[in-house]
Amino acid sequence: MIEETRAQETYEVLREAKRALDEESKLLAKVYNEPAIFEMEAQKIFQKTWVFLAHESEIPWPGDYVLRRIIDDSFIVARDEDGQIHVLFNMCRHRGMQLCRSDAGNASHFRCPYHGYTYKNTGKLNGVPFQKEAYGPEGLDKDEWAMTPAPKVGIYEGMIFASLDGDVQPLEEHIGDMGWYLDFYLKKSSAGMEVVGPPQRWVMHADWKLASENFIGDGYHTQSTHMSTIKAGIMRVKSPAYLKDGVQILAGSHGCLFMGFKPGSYFNYPQSIVDSMKESLNEDQVALIEENSVLPLNATIFPNTSLLHSSMSIEPGGRSVPYVTLRVWQPMGPGKMEVWSWCLVEKDAPEDFKRASNRSYLSTFGASGTLEQDDAENWSGTTRVAAGAMSGSHYLNYSAGAGQVDPIPEDEWAGPGTAYPKNYIDFAQRHFWQTYFDHLMA
């Protein structure tokens, strides 16, 4: 419950911050770490828009479920006997006990420990102990007292989203133009993608937005932040500036970054997957890959879901092995988040490739990842120094490319949205912050 006055004052600060961003390409550092702003984000963003919860392949069988959160709200994501997916608020309707207390499992019913109400994995109230004694001859209205589903649920290419706002726009609209680009991650195989086991989870004293803005378009940081992995031969690139050239995409509220690869190398994917990819992508998409030898590297789906497509070496001098990781930057409070990170592989990929791909992922972008580590150091450092009073008047530079670089003409770029022909520019990051301010001040 954030009260009016406070909201009002925060609003003033944000309006000026928005102006500075729009007119001067500057960002007020305070937005990285301020309790009052965090409360607004919870209300205006995480209670309004779509938030990613789980991947369908985490619950392949009837009865499978996983436990997920939107900030502090706990949800059971379950597949019922008919294969239908349900997202249910994890609170009993009787006295509010947490119904499911394990991270994952398989169950047709959820039994509340407190008084024994049982619910089907569809959310339907199924059993009430001594119902007549407690609630009289008619007993309880089973429909009125069913579990509360998430106000809105949507699935996009295996990605399960929910929204706390029943009036949110359809998920398809929310994804919009970004879908064309997500295909490169999610439709790389006609068999579809699947997760490799349960997600890694770890806590970071860093603001969720730092991670989202980094993944939407920060190609520039790689030459400094990740230098150690280049020197050590983990990232096999010719020069630290390997990511200078590429394409930056703004699509709807989202965005991504294309990276080039040696023509014909396809990130070192096995031929079988390259073929499968070309088969499952559409003409334009295939043409783009073949002609430009580029693939999307990192992407952010507003607000806090990111994807990364990369290829790294696992052994000294070894060939780099490609992988895709999907991650959620789950806010835990001002300046604090829980990272959820999955590795996605092509369902029809050879087993040994799956294993190698997962190893390539975890050693570079898992919690122990040699690249992830340094990103975490940056984001937590930034959050730390933004905590004080100085950041309230400290403006940051988001001007790269502003007034210097023009979008690629529509007829020269097959994809939707806006495409910029470089990577060391801040268009996508400014776009993230504009979207952010639009939500906060709506």
Binding site: M204, M227, S228, G366, S368, A376
Partner: protein, 170 residues
């Protein structure tokens, strides 16, 4: 925990102590070269919070570490560059190794060891620290220059890792 000779225990204990000291003194290179076998398996599985009936919750697919000598070599090389920001300034770690148990030996000069590890990690000027708790299941092999780590499973007591990254060894 099986019956074992005090001698074997002492040998194993000495190895684990030396190894912990090298890690706390940030001698990752020496650790790799003097304590690890060429064919090492170094694993830290992801753990989920599961119902009692479903076992310990450790995954056999997801790992925080799933290392070979080669991938450990890359991690050490990275730390040796001057750009490993996450560990420069370095974490101040302390490996509290307790409950050392010789869990078995086998013909080819290998011995299985379990130990409890409480890892204390302090960074920067932050007065609060991170505490990681785990059981380690090791297989040590006797080589010409003494015992070396052939296999290590780090079984965390966490379903959510409460430190911002795993940039140190266990």
């Amino acid at each position: 925990m099986i019956e074992t000779s005090l001698e074997t225990y002492w040998e194993v204990y000495s190895f684990l102590m030396r190894e912990a000291e090298l890690l706390d003194e940030r001698c990752e290179r020496e650790w790799l070269e003097s304590c690890i076998t060429e064919d090492v398996e170094y694993l830290m599985p992801v753990r989920e919070n599961r119902e009692r009936g479903e076992g310990t919750g450790f995954s056999d697919e997801s790992f925080y570490f799933q290392e070979t000598h080669g991938s450990l070599e890359l991690r050490v090389r990275r730390l040796e560059t001057e750009y490993a920001w996450a560990e420069d300034p370095p974490s101040r770690t302390r490996h509290f190794v307790t409950n050392v148990r010789v869990a078995g030996g086998d013909e080819d000069g290998e011995v299985a060891v379990k130990s409890n590890l409480l890892l204390y990690r302090s960074r920067g000027s932050d007065p609060t620290a991170d505490l990681l708790s785990a059981e380690r299941r090791d297989v040590l092999r006797r080589e010409e220059d003494g015992l070396r780590l052939r296999r290590r499973e780090i079984l965390l007591d966490h379903s959510v890792v409460m430190t911002h990254n795993l940039s140190v060894f266990f």
